[in-house]
Symmetry: C2
Subunit: 322 residues, 2 copies
Amino acid sequence: MSDHLLPLINEALAALPYPQAPEGLYEPIAYGLEGGGKRLRPTLLLLAYKVFGQNPTEALPAALALEIYHNHTLLHDDLMDQAPMRRGRPTVYRKWDANTAILSGDTMLIMAVEQMSRLECRASHEVMALFVRTMKEVCEGQQYDMNFERMADVSMVEYLEMIRLKTAVLPACAAKAGALIGGADEAAAQSLYDFAIHLGLAFQIQDDYLDVYGDPKVFGKSIGGDIVCGKKTYLLISALNKAEDQDKARLKALIGDKTIAQDEKIKAVTALYDSLHIAEEAKAAIDRHFALAAQCLDQVKADPERLQPLRDYAESLLGRNV
Amino acid sequence: MSDHLLPLINEALAALPYPQAPEGLYEPIAYGLEGGGKRLRPTLLLLAYKVFGQNPTEALPAALALEIYHNHTLLHDDLMDQAPMRRGRPTVYRKWDANTAILSGDTMLIMAVEQMSRLECRASHEVMALFVRTMKEVCEGQQYDMNFERMADVSMVEYLEMIRLKTAVLPACAAKAGALIGGADEAAAQSLYDFAIHLGLAFQIQDDYLDVYGDPKVFGKSIGGDIVCGKKTYLLISALNKAEDQDKARLKALIGDKTIAQDEKIKAVTALYDSLHIAEEAKAAIDRHFALAAQCLDQVKADPERLQPLRDYAESLLGRNV
């Protein structure tokens, strides 16, 4: 299990040194990092490390780098999306201002690189190159996501490529980096990368699914948010692909309608999804990517017992063993 | 001389690979990097390299890293300062929008790290650590500069520390990195760092001076811009330190006056500066830092002939041999 890793990660994050001055630069960074969250990326990194390596503290700088980088993306994304809340608290640009969010976010990105540059192992150079390539891909994913807002039609291929970049490559970088630091060979490290890509895709499609079909108490966000703002999700794109002429026109009209009451819009779109069996389609896609993730793990030449915590973690992330 | 380095730098920048997709992410980066500029930091880096090393292309990734990082700071600073123009062209956030400036700027920072991580020499690790520390300092300098806008009084010590961080540490990082990559020992590399700190301070104080006393045709910006927006500059802080009660009150009132015509404000503040001999004080400070920079070069144990291009470059930067 991964329960013992969370305190290790949170303690290391809390022990990061913050200069006292200048006022206004480092408080928002500490605020962002203390906000909790699942610590998914550093956990994956350390679990992948432990398949091959004996001393997880050796991989800790890389784990911190990924968590700090992830929180940097949240900080800047929240500003770009004008999102007021994150994990039940005001976002940095709301609590402070836009300039603070820009500059503190930049500093976080630098701190992430700083942590990664502290890595001292044979794979340091390869891991840094992987990290840099991954960060560029995450920016590309965010750009695609912003471009989609202005596009009338987004294909499923385009959508999956966007979430691969925006969501999946960072956990994949975590899994591969952990493996490499632990001493895995290239083939095993690449299998762990692919495992986390499929896990990331399954997780994002599940997030889209839960936005419509989730239990609001468990999901932590209000239901139907994506429908209200007309976001291109796995469900919407599936529905537009599947619907015949009349339903398709109705769905497009509903999504673009800014005058309709929010709950009415959610109800009408959900009814259309239901009639098209979109929930089943999304669940099938989640199952498919989860199965592909498991297959990737099967290809790793390592003691199955040492791989088991990664299997357990993947299951727990998708709510399959709770 | 450094003339032959500029084509080398510009060609390497122009040869950077830009992915075609996603639309909107890489064009602003190419736009920022093709905008010209003095290429001061990569030039300093390569000149410092050539004091010790034989093969400047070995240092090119670090030179590109610093130039890309510098342009990243311009891109984000222009957004934070809401500056409409840069080098005679609209700034990125004006030509595109704020979100484009944020995300393309983030990508530039990652590209800078990417270049630095390509460095392959004995000093690679030390240079990366220096680069990371420097980038954090530049963010701190920008934060101090923004904080100063809201502060009634800024001391000369605070001001000099701000410009050291915001302006001087990046050329200093360039000079030291070039020396280290070339094979310099720590003492020589540190002397080159200190040289560029003083050069950077002299250059920034000269920039403040030229804003009031420069020839608009040569300076490239309209005269008095700092006075109009009440910016805390070397001249203003000197004047507030030197003025007696009545003049001090008048200067503060003038700077804070938003109703007065711009040219009248510039004329009145300049007249006060003149009566307090602030131009002479600024020129003395520039001379002082220039002399300190030269002394730092004197301490470098290297063939004086190989140091001469750095001396020439420092002089040309401050307009002393043209």
